[in-house]
């Protein structure tokens, strides 16, 4: 079970409260987690990553275990603590504005 944290606007869009819990059948990577997230919540397609290129949107960040994983390759394994459900995989709206 993977725990995913969403920013407030995307929680509203997906109509969820708190963390999302996902069963990811294969190894936990950014790609497999986001695939599972978008399969469960289709309205999130295009809001975290581009629907065609699958690239992370510029002002979205991925944090876990107090690390910034935003620039990791999408098929890099996530930390064991995320894969085991001990820590959440956080999708964050980047700090922007004044």
């Amino acid at each position: 079970m993977i725990r995913v944290g969403l920013p407030a606007h995307l929680r509203t869009l997906a109509r969820v409260d708190g963390e999302v819990k996902l069963d990811v059948k294969i190894q936990a990577t950014q790609r497999s987690v986001l695939d599972a997230l978008e399969a469960r919540y289709p309205m999130l397609r295009g809001t975290i990553r581009d629907q065609v290129t699958q690239q992370r949107r510029a002002f979205v960040r991925f944090f876990a275990c107090e690390q910034d994983l935003s620039h990791e390759l999408p098929d890099t394994l996530l930390p064991d603590a995320v894969a085991m459900g001990a820590e959440p995989f956080l999708t964050i709206g980047a700090i922007a504005g004044g």
């Binding site: 920013p7 606007h9 869009l13 397609r45 629907q51 709206g93 922007a96």
Partner: protein, 371 residues
């Protein structure tokens, strides 16, 4: 007709304002999609309870929302806008070729006859259509591909396709406007397109009379005369009496020819409205006086409408999609400002009152006259 519904898109959400036919007391609902930019929302002429909204964010991209109950509840529908084939290039601000890249939906235009068919004008400029209620979108790529696309340039707000006019007398004819490319027309339902800018003159271009490159801010028509078009250009108010084949300036005695919106009275095809703005860098009314100008002669002769509007210290703007009319008699006229006010006139512009004063920056105003 039972009442009126005003659909307001703002920088931080959508608002739905409703009133009865007197248009004196208003119920204000919102914000819907709080915190998101709502560039435009509009109802289907074929089903007034079917609404579409363009919801976007610099963080999370583009969404399309649909309502089947007049805006009480909404559901996200399809948001996959993929250019047909190679996106191609347009001119960047420095004149170099720049790859086309989807940014957002500026304008949604529901079909006149089918609630499930809706057009979307997007940035970078292109036209999309959905025939399944917004679930899937297909580009009408003949517009970008007709030949002049590589020479289009973005205006300061981005290279947006911001106006879509459907000809009620000819289902194959559509007019669109792009900043800063100009006006284009199809006569075959969107397969082929051609520019219709003859008569426009733009001193900001190397060739002021070029076929494309004009910054048409907004075009409007009256449904009874779809061959007559009115345009608020970057500078100049224009009209065409031959479906865009040629244009004539009708700025007349306006205090400034610059502005963004233009609209036509619901029952008087020669009565038109504009909001003159000082110039293209000072985006506020001349002399700090908010004045709508009305021409009852299709242009040339204009009168200032000031009753109920601030006549001092007013430095707001009225954006291109932020004016609309209702179908009552007398005709109601509405506009929203970058200062968050939505003004309404229930007497065709003779007098005005704010419906609401403190919304976020208003990006669009549409009106539905309810059966």
């Amino acid at each position: 007709m039972s009442g009126v519904r005003v659909l307001v898109g703002t920088l931080k959400g959508a608002f739905v304002l409703t009133s009865d036919a007197k248009r004196e007391r208003w119920d204000i609902r919102g914000p819907h999609f709080g915190g998101w930019e709502i560039y435009h929302l509009k109802g289907s002429p074929a089903d007034p309870n079917r609404l579409y909204a363009s919801q976007s964010s610099g963080w999370f991209g583009q969404l399309i929302q649909r309502s089947n109950d007049g805006g009480k509840t909404w559901e996200p529908v399809g948001n996959k806008f993929v250019y047909d084939g190679v996106p191609g290039t347009h001119q960047w601000y420095d004149g170099t070729p720049h790859p086309g890249e989807f940014a957002r939906v500026w304008h949604l235009e529901p079909s006149l006859i089918d609630p499930d068919t809706v057009y979307a004008g997007v940035e970078d400029a292109a036209l999309f259509r959905s025939v399944d209620g917004g679930q899937t979108w297909q580009e009408l790529s003949g517009l970008r591909g007709h030949g002049s696309g590589p020479s289009w340039q973005p205006g300061a707000g981005g290279m947006c396709l911001h106006t879509i006019l459907l000809d009620p007398s000819d289902p194959g004819r559509i007019f669109i406007a792009i900043s800063a490319a100009g006006v284009f027309r199809t006569d075959d339902g969107g397969t082929t397109w051609r520019p219709i800018n003859r008569g426009l003159k733009s001193e900001q271009m190397p060739d002021p009379h070029a076929e494309v490159g004009h910054c048409a801010h907004r075009i409007a028509m009256h449904r009874s005369r779809p061959g007559v078009l009115f345009m608020q250009k970057h500078w100049d108010v224009m009209r065409s009496d031959d479906a865009g084949e040629s244009w004539q300036e009708v700025s007349g005695n306006l205090p400034t020819e610059f502005g963004f919106p233009i609209d036509v009275h619901e029952h008087e095809p020669e009565t038109i409205y504009v909001v003159p703005i000082k110039n293209d860098s000072e985006h506020y009314p001349p002399e700090g006086k908010l004045r709508v100008y009305r021409s009852r002669t299709g242009g040339h002769e204009w009168e200032a409408l000031t009753k109920g509007l601030p006549q001092r210290d007013c430095y707001i703007n009225v954006l291109r999609d932020a004016m609309a009319v209702d179908s009552f008699d007398p005709c109601g006229v509405y506009f929203g400002t970058t200062g968050g006010q939505v003004y309404a006139s229930a007497d065709a512009g003779d007098s005005w009152a704010p419906i609401v004063r403190d919304l976020p920056r208003v990006l669009s105003v549409e009106v539905q006259t309810l059966p």
